[in-house]
Amino acid sequence: MNLRVNTPFAAAVAIAAGLFMLASLFIPGLEEPRNRVLNWAVLLAALAMLLGLANLFTVHFDKVRNKQQPAYSAVLILAMLIAFGLTVWEGSQAQLPSWIFNNIQSPVEASLMAVLAISLTLAAARLLQNRNDLMSIVFVMALFILLVGSGPLFGIEIPFFTSVLGPYVSQFLSTGAMRGLLIGVALGTLLTGLRILIGADRPYGG
């Protein structure tokens, strides 16, 4: 059943909600209805997560039925059902769900991060071999300064780097760059909000 709303009604609701949230920040006395609307959004987000879970189950169930790498999909479905069922049944702070999280999920993610560290080291070591231009040299030089300035190497501190050059790069140069980045992000967010408020962008359809 397709319940897609493709009428101006959706746009009107979205624009009205946005204008109301914006006005509630400036007009006193609107905090209570604003918080109520925000709680609706939180419930909708939780339902959307449940829908995502159902969609994931459907996709991998079809893969198992069509025998498209069914072993991986079967493991995923089994793990998902066990974790979901135990958490719903016992609660997220219970012993068994905590054991699953602490002994399966957390080590797996940490291992992936360790592999990422090695891969990044390898990429940095091979950078000048694969791409030998000015920006690569600048990148390697900045990396060199930051790493040396972040602490002693093999227990030996290099004074100029750790006390002068490293802090200068990390606290002044990078901060300036990040401020520019943040201003760009803020302007982009403002423009996106305005486009939705005037109906130029309609990601919800309609």
């Binding site: 905090e31 604003r34 918080n35 925000l38 709680n39 959004a41 939180v42 419930l43 987000a45 939780a46 997560m49 609660g91 997220s92 702070q93 905590s98 999280f101 602490n102 999920q105 957390s106 993610e109 940490a110 992936l112 991060m113 560290a117 090695i118 891969s119 080291t121 390898l122 940095a124 070591a125 091979r126 950078l127 000048l128 071999q129 694969n130 030998n132 390697v140 990396l143 060199f144 790493l147 040396v148 972040s150 602490g151 002693p152 190497l153 093999f154 227990g155 501190e157 750790t162 006390s163 802090p167 990390s170 606290q171 990078s174 901060t175 760059a177 990040m178 401020r179 980045l181 943040l182």
Partner: protein
């Protein structure tokens, strides 16, 4: 074309060439027709001497003379195109010749050489050729033609069955009056329609029914070209194709390099941990005033002050966050702060609970459960905004389990976000900390402090100098943990234990990058070797 009595040129020809020309002159050309015969042949070549006729031909000629009493007329092949003649009688005309065609046919001239043609043909010699007639009369065919019309034992106008079978079917156009205009007086000299005039000529490519010529595949090359070709073939034989599996050749050293790097990094980090080395100097607090601010804020909290800890940590970066979070939470617990945990990440509450139980189970506040877990706040930025606006009205995951965290009597004094004495955001990435800073900027007059991983520090550092102040302090990474433990004069902390491993690991990474960069430069500076056959084969 009249032939001139000339000296016989075949006297000087070799025997084989003479015999070949004799055969060519005796056998009517197949497919090409008389009009396509080579015109550059000497006239004498097409008229072989009677004395040179073979015996079998002379016998045939003798029999023919006995039966007919006269030699047949030639088909005009010797006369060629310059002396056309036409078929006079209608009964000799091709089948289906229309009366209109007869009327439109121009009078045709009979060459001198066909005076001895059968009675079926009527001589009409043009005046322009009267002078040449004397010479023409001397020309007599010295061979027996394969086909003459006068000896054909078929009735005029009646085609034999085999010829009718060969004739084109009804799909072909019949003769009409235009043929006479288009091809005046042309008589077919070969093929099944030989002897018929006013025949529409077929297209050359269609009429050619002989087998396609077979050309020699051998190249005519000079000796020098042959030598060059031999050298080129030799070069091609010596040059082997490029390696078949280039990706495999590239992947093998990369895999080895990965293993070497992983081993070096693993050993460099493991060695200080195993030996419990503490040789590396701790960071200087003078260089990190933002960390000192965090210490000062926490150290100035009164006992029992409510502190909100937003634990936005991913499991992947929990190893980096753990020593720093332990240092901060330990300081808070030492100050007897009332901790309230919340997270906008599903894994946050579980990681916070694990840390408390593993590291601070001996602390009375943790052992007695004098802290509060608000749980997971779903909904992203909207939920965060809702929580900051009204913490008690926000929907929390603990409510789904039937437990309302706000029913705890210790939280009664908290009516809004400003009721917290301090907000500590423990975040593994910059975006989560940024969301807390930006959403709470207008609501939190006291600001908040951030405890983050090293990767989030550059982005958050920009908020340290904002006006109004939104971020009061920042501690990040293993370096921040070691620094904070130094500020607290804490010995045996996890930050200090990791600091040497961190130092050795950074040193190993620096070494690998330098060596890799030098290796890359050397590879680029190395001149390419000339390709030899052995190198090309990979031997």
């Amino acid at each position: 074309m009249p032939t001139q009595p000339v000296q016989d040129p075949e006297e000087n020809l070799p025997d084989w060439l003479r015999a070949l020309r004799k055969r060519q002159s005796q056998e009517p050309s197949e497919g090409l027709g008389a009009e396509n015969a080579p015109s550059d042949l000497p006239a004498a070549a097409s008229e072989p001497e009677p004395r040179q006729e073979p015996s079998w031909l002379q016998e045939i000629r003798a029999r023919y003379k006995k039966t007919t009493g006269s030699l047949p007329a030639t088909e005009g092949t010797e006369l060629g195109d310059t002396q056309p003649h036409r078929v006079k009688a209608a009964d000799q005309a091709p089948v289906e010749e229309t009366p209109a065609a007869e009327e439109t046919q121009p009078p045709m001239e009979e060459p001198q050489a066909v005076k001895e043609t059968p009675p079926a043909f009527e001589e009409e010699i043009p005046e322009s050729q009267d002078e040449e007639s004397g010479a023409e009369e001397t020309i007599k065919p010295s061979y027996t033609p394969a086909f003459t019309e006068d000896q054909v034992p078929i009735d005029p106008g009646v085609l034999p069955s085999w010829l009718q079978a060969l004739r084109p079917g009804g799909s072909y156009p019949t003769e009409d009056a235009r043929s006479g205009e288009m091809l005046p007086g042309v008589e077919e000299t070969s093929g099944p329609l030989a002897g018929l005039s006013d025949v529409l000529p077929a297209d050359a490519s269609i009429a050619r029914v002989e087998k396609p010529p077979v050309y020699s595949a051998r190249l005519e090359v000079t000796e020098n070209q042959g030598l060059h070709a031999a050298v080129f073939i030799k070069m091609l034989d010596e040059t082997e194709p490029p390696p078949v599996d280039e990706a495999h050749r590239v992947a093998r050293p990369t895999r080895v390099l990965n293993l070497i790097m992983a081993t070096v990094l693993f050993l460099s980090v493991l060695f200080p941990l195993v030996t419990q080395s503490q040789t590396a100097g701790l960071p200087d607090p003078q260089l990190f005033p933002e960390a000192t601010n965090v210490y000062s804020l926490i150290d100035g909290l009164p006992a029992g002050a409510p502190v909100l800890v937003a634990f936005e940590v991913q499991p992947a970066l929990n190893g980096e966050i753990t020593p720093l979070a332990i240092a901060i939470l330990g300081h808070l617990l030492d100050r007897q702060a009332q901790l309230v945990f919340i997270s906008t990440r599903p894994s946050g509450p579980a990681l916070a609970e694990r840390m408390l139980q593993e590291q601070f189970s001996a602390v009375p506040a943790v052992a007695t459960g004098a802290y509060t877990q608000l749980g997971y706040l779903s909904g992203g930025l909207a939920a965060l905004r809702s929580f900051i606006s009204d913490p008690r009205g926000a929907t929390l995951s603990t409510m789904s389990a039937g437990a309302d965290a706000w029913q705890n009597s210790s939280l009664d004094p908290i009516r809004g976000i400003n009721s917290f004495a301090l907000i500590v955001v423990v975040s593994s990435n910059a975006e989560d900390a940024r969301a807390w800073i930006e959403q709470g900027a207008g609501v939190l007059p006291n600001g908040l402090v951030a405890v983050t991983s090293a990767q989030a520090a550059p982005l958050l550092r920009a908020y340290l100098q904002s006006d109004p102040l939104t971020l009061l302090g920042l501690v990040s990474g293993i370096q921040g943990a070691a620094l904070y433990e130094r500020l607290r004069a804490q010995d045996g902390g996890l930050g200090r234990a990791y600091w040497d491993a961190y130092s050795y690991g950074i040193g190993a990474i620096m070494l690998l990058i330098l060596l890799g960069g030098l290796y890359g430069r050397l590879i680029r500076m190395k001149p390419e070797k000339p390709i030899t056959s052995g190198a090309a084969r990979g031997t």
